[in-house]
Assembly symmetry: C3
Homo-oligomer: 337 residues x 3
Amino acid sequence: MDSNLSSMIDLSPGPLPSSLQLTREGKLRHFLTIEGLSPLMLEEILDRAEQFVTLPNKNQSKAPLLRGKTVINLFFENSTRTRMTFELAAKRLSADLINLDINTSATSKGESLLDTIRNLEAMNVDMFIVRHQHSGAAHFIARYAAPHISVLNAGDGHHSHPTQAMLDMLTIRQHKGAFPPLKVAIVGDILHSRVARSQIHALTTLCAGEVRVIGPRTLMPVGVEAMGVNVFHDLYEGLEGVDVIIMLRLQKERMQNALLPSAHEYYKRYGLRKEALACAKPDAIVMHPGPSNRGVEIDSVVADGSQSVILQQVSNGIAVRMAVMSMVMSAQSGKLK
Amino acid sequence: MDSNLSSMIDLSPGPLPSSLQLTREGKLRHFLTIEGLSPLMLEEILDRAEQFVTLPNKNQSKAPLLRGKTVINLFFENSTRTRMTFELAAKRLSADLINLDINTSATSKGESLLDTIRNLEAMNVDMFIVRHQHSGAAHFIARYAAPHISVLNAGDGHHSHPTQAMLDMLTIRQHKGAFPPLKVAIVGDILHSRVARSQIHALTTLCAGEVRVIGPRTLMPVGVEAMGVNVFHDLYEGLEGVDVIIMLRLQKERMQNALLPSAHEYYKRYGLRKEALACAKPDAIVMHPGPSNRGVEIDSVVADGSQSVILQQVSNGIAVRMAVMSMVMSAQSGKLK
Amino acid sequence: MDSNLSSMIDLSPGPLPSSLQLTREGKLRHFLTIEGLSPLMLEEILDRAEQFVTLPNKNQSKAPLLRGKTVINLFFENSTRTRMTFELAAKRLSADLINLDINTSATSKGESLLDTIRNLEAMNVDMFIVRHQHSGAAHFIARYAAPHISVLNAGDGHHSHPTQAMLDMLTIRQHKGAFPPLKVAIVGDILHSRVARSQIHALTTLCAGEVRVIGPRTLMPVGVEAMGVNVFHDLYEGLEGVDVIIMLRLQKERMQNALLPSAHEYYKRYGLRKEALACAKPDAIVMHPGPSNRGVEIDSVVADGSQSVILQQVSNGIAVRMAVMSMVMSAQSGKLK
């Protein structure tokens, strides 16, 4: 029963029983992936998030929805920014939040992941926010977690980053309303991007009119068309007439791995500059999950331009996380009645 | 007056004046060691802790007992798990908690320990949770701390770990009721274990029927019998007929120090496996302070088996820490009236 | 628009438009430097701080003035002690506080400072506490921050440390009352000290009778007399008849840079010992921003003596920070009406 995460989770790479994320009554219990969730559920998350959106200069009132709850930021992979958004979301819901950086903690004493989980559960913890470099880590924890625990996936390997996708959907809906008429382009390293995977699932579930993925062949997953997207290798062609442009962050490691010639070359072909932006609809919005590499995947003029909604995405990130946290906790309390 | 902790505390290695832990009215002011506390006081801690025990799936309501109080986790030695249990306990009592890792802070600027303490006191801090690699560190701080400060020992060198001992006593009482009829065995590296020392004091104070210590000669303190325990070097013999088995964690450093031949050899002789467990009473409980080295001091089958109460110990750890925190703070406020 | 802080802030080293710190109605919006603030504003800070001073053994009640506000400790330079005082101040005002150590976070992903600021703003943060090794960093952030953000300078390069200066003023006022009759000596490394700069501005603004700076020529800024101070190179001469002695911390780096022969030599000439203290008025108070190097710039007998008010400075540090935090937040909410 001693767990070796990387081997165990590789044993179950298949599709997730969607029941794992939902209670018997169909409420959201964990939030691990967009895959398998109904359009209604996604809309519910967006509607709930909308209630938590506050203008930066408006007075924030603390919501007591998670008072007395303990949330653990269980980060196996460093990400200050994502950790902070979950921390802020938890605190604004009045939860107690504890950051646990697993590299520097119990596991260094040889404790297995499952032992760590069991111990945290025994401390009466209510929610794990899991970030992990291995695909499937959050699922694994959700599968073995005690019934009173909810697990939120804050990014696992190349697999999924569902809160990121939902904050993107929220931002799109705020600007464009309904999804069916929309053409959306996702540009960059599709192959390694958990963000792209989650966005594609969300967009197709919400019946976006067309989802395009644009990028070099070396960074395009084989058979990605099966996800319901159209593939482009030319940026200008791919952006033709789209309503929404989502730029992905380019990991520097890709250049070292010889998947790409150079950052400069990449920028020339796939960086979003004014000329490329002009191919999209005049009111197209420009998105990026951040932090952006200016001059690599996006020009500063565009990133800071009038069509950019990048900072609104950040604000929406807090609201979406508050929404999902309050939903899974209310599903938990419903279960107990 | 410039303090050199390691030298100063070696100057006072003798028994602690029990008055240091108690107010003039006999209430708990600091919690430094089990030694010298009355059975009544230990029972009061257990009774108070019992009120803070909540089932994992029951709604936690925040107790306001420490609202407005500031608690500092003053950790000179790293221990994520212990720090977390104190942090959770403090937050569930509505205290403000600040983690202060002393290796990476003021002392690196050459500030002495006493200066650090004086400065924290001046910041209107109310409680120090002290973890230190030197025996006597928490006593030293308590001795020199300002009157409005309470000190809790979270483990000092090989000396004492009183909250760990009390959570063990709570777990035993929950399963076995009264202590006098009980035979309790503590197994492993008795020599270096502050946990074992505190457990022995707690068990003898609570009049446990028999306390046995089991381990190799190299890991057994000379003259340990004077503490009121019976010594065994054979695991099977020592476990014969006991009600409670407490396994200790084996530090890997012991093997390097040539005190032990190998982990494998240790496991063969002192690891708790089914066969050894069968020597104890059929309803014996198995305890471990965690994190356990599966396959070194305990077999996974036993650690996860029906007689194991290891995770219950973890839950009780929060409750005991909440109990002690609220007791010392109420003793402080009583003093001020 | 990609920001390179060190170059950009060197472009604007001139005097700060005092309007940057104040709202149109003349209320404190940021707290970046003492320079340019009116005596009335400094007195207002001191009066407000006085209300937050509590005796260490008196029950602290939590002020709800910052409930629902998010404060970020944005530390580009490590300082456990200063960070803690801001954290305590924020928590005692019921704010949510998040520590962000910028060395180990977003900027390591190549994100520029301005991008970091923009992202934090988008997360609906209300206040940045900025500590930075470059002079002007807090000003830079204040200049570019969104309207709903307040910036407090927690020390920038050799430039300014205004909350430290104000806690010193509070301590002086508590002991000596009005400033005009006072002779105040600041002793040590004036050249590299942001603390000294801020103290001089505060003392001259509050019309202290005489401000003296004492130190070796190598550690004295050229033309410092223009700040309205009298310069001394002999400790005994400089301390003659003063009411207040402020010792500065000597950075060990100064010795390595050949600005000083040795710590021992420095102590002989500028260390505050009983004999030197005897030159001051008999009721002179001794101050130090801490942490002090005992035996380098101050003798332990003096640091712990009856004239020392060093620990009172620490207590006042929390009160002053609470005062400034509540003032800038109330200026913000006034702005919105």
